[in-house]
């Protein structure tokens, strides 16, 4: 049953994530954190961090990570297969149609509607992660006592560096890890 759940969950992630990169993140969060509870929000955020710092698509990284933790190597293989299978079917079909008809107007139209939605979904997942960083697992309900000013300063600094100086995101994340980690260790 677990294998079937893993396969089906990541099949949906593969099927509905359009636009690459971060687009898969809200879907993975929905399946893995909210629906099945396979990862806590903290573990999920760790996963996004790891996926950003290692090569390979975030969806494949997530499938392997979750699969291994839930059901070992077979779980990883099945989750990854589930995540890649929709691509294999749909892309082969589109490639066949493309080489035959060479027209993509309708596909482009559907994409025009999807692009803003994908941005909104990424923003929504980003807000969840931001609240985790600022308030911990309890979220905004924790109130001002749970508020973490170090994370707030790190977030603002990192965002300014990314927007103004176009630094490589991997280095910005590593920088936050080193600076934040040092502060958290020195001031418990």
């Amino acid at each position: 049953m677990t294998f079937l759940d893993l396969f089906w969950s990541f099949f949906q992630v593969g099927l509905f994530s359009i636009g690459g990169g971060m687009a898969a993140m809200p879907l993975i969060q929905h399946q893995v954190v909210e629906l099945h509870g396979w990862l806590t929000l903290t573990e999920f955020t760790d996963l996004v961090t790891i996926a950003e710092m290692t090569p390979g698509p975030i969806a494949v990284n997530a499938a392997t990570f979750v699969g291994t933790r839930i059901a070992g190597l077979p779980g990883a293989l099945i989750a990854t297969a589930g995540c890649v299978l929709p691509s294999c079917i749909i892309v082969s079909l589109l490639a066949f149609l493309y080489f035959r008809f060479r027209s993509l107007t309708v596909v482009q139209g559907v994409l025009n509607g999807l692009r803003p939605a994908v941005v909104a979904l990424i923003a929504s997942a980003g807000c969840t992660i931001l609240l985790l960083a600022l308030f911990g697992e309890g979220g905004i309900a924790g109130g001002m006592e749970a508020f973490n000013p170090v994370a707030a300063v790190l977030f603002c600094t990192a965002l300014i560096i990314l927007r103004r100086f176009r630094f490589n995101p991997v280095f910005v994340m590593l920088g936050c890890g080193v600076v934040g980690g040092a502060i958290y260790l020195l001031i418990p």
């Binding site: 690459g20 698509p57 392997t64 929709p86 509607g113 992660i129 502060i183």
Partner: protein, 192 residues
Amino acid sequence: MKRSLRVYLKLFYVTFWLSAVTFGGGYVIVSFMRKKFTDELGWIPEDEMLNLVAIAQSSPGPVAVNASILVGYRVAGIPGACITVLGSVLPPLILLSVISLFYDAFRQNIVVGAVLKGMQAGVAAVIADVVCSLGGKFFRGRQWFSVLIMCAAFVASYFFSVNVLWIILACGCIGGIQVWINMRRAGKGGSV
């Protein structure tokens, strides 16, 4: 189409290494693929490569996987596509299974825990940056309809916890209907 063991091996070798060493998501790997298959190997002409990239970005699933399927299919048919999928999925599969095996021991380490906690703010900033870049385009281009869809989708997802799949399906349909209306108008000789 080229179907020989040498071509299959080359396809696997190239996609495996591209997938193993390119950081930074689908768009980066796609530009490396163009460099390799168009400029160096000369297997796929420039304009066709651009169309393949467009298909890869318009299809569901990871862009890097989609692009490698298309390149494999174009060079050596279905067997080629199977080989390139394997090549591009294996490196992250191997790497992440090793990482997840050590994750628990790793996470319990105080130093690693503190660093990961610091990184949470960094990840949030990276996501905010992506959202600003992608969403800013709609404002700069004065595409108010897209802005409207974006705001509606955000409210639905964040405040009302509407299932992600429904939001994607609904917005895809809206885009499709828009094209259909435009095509009908154009067909009737109205303003395009």
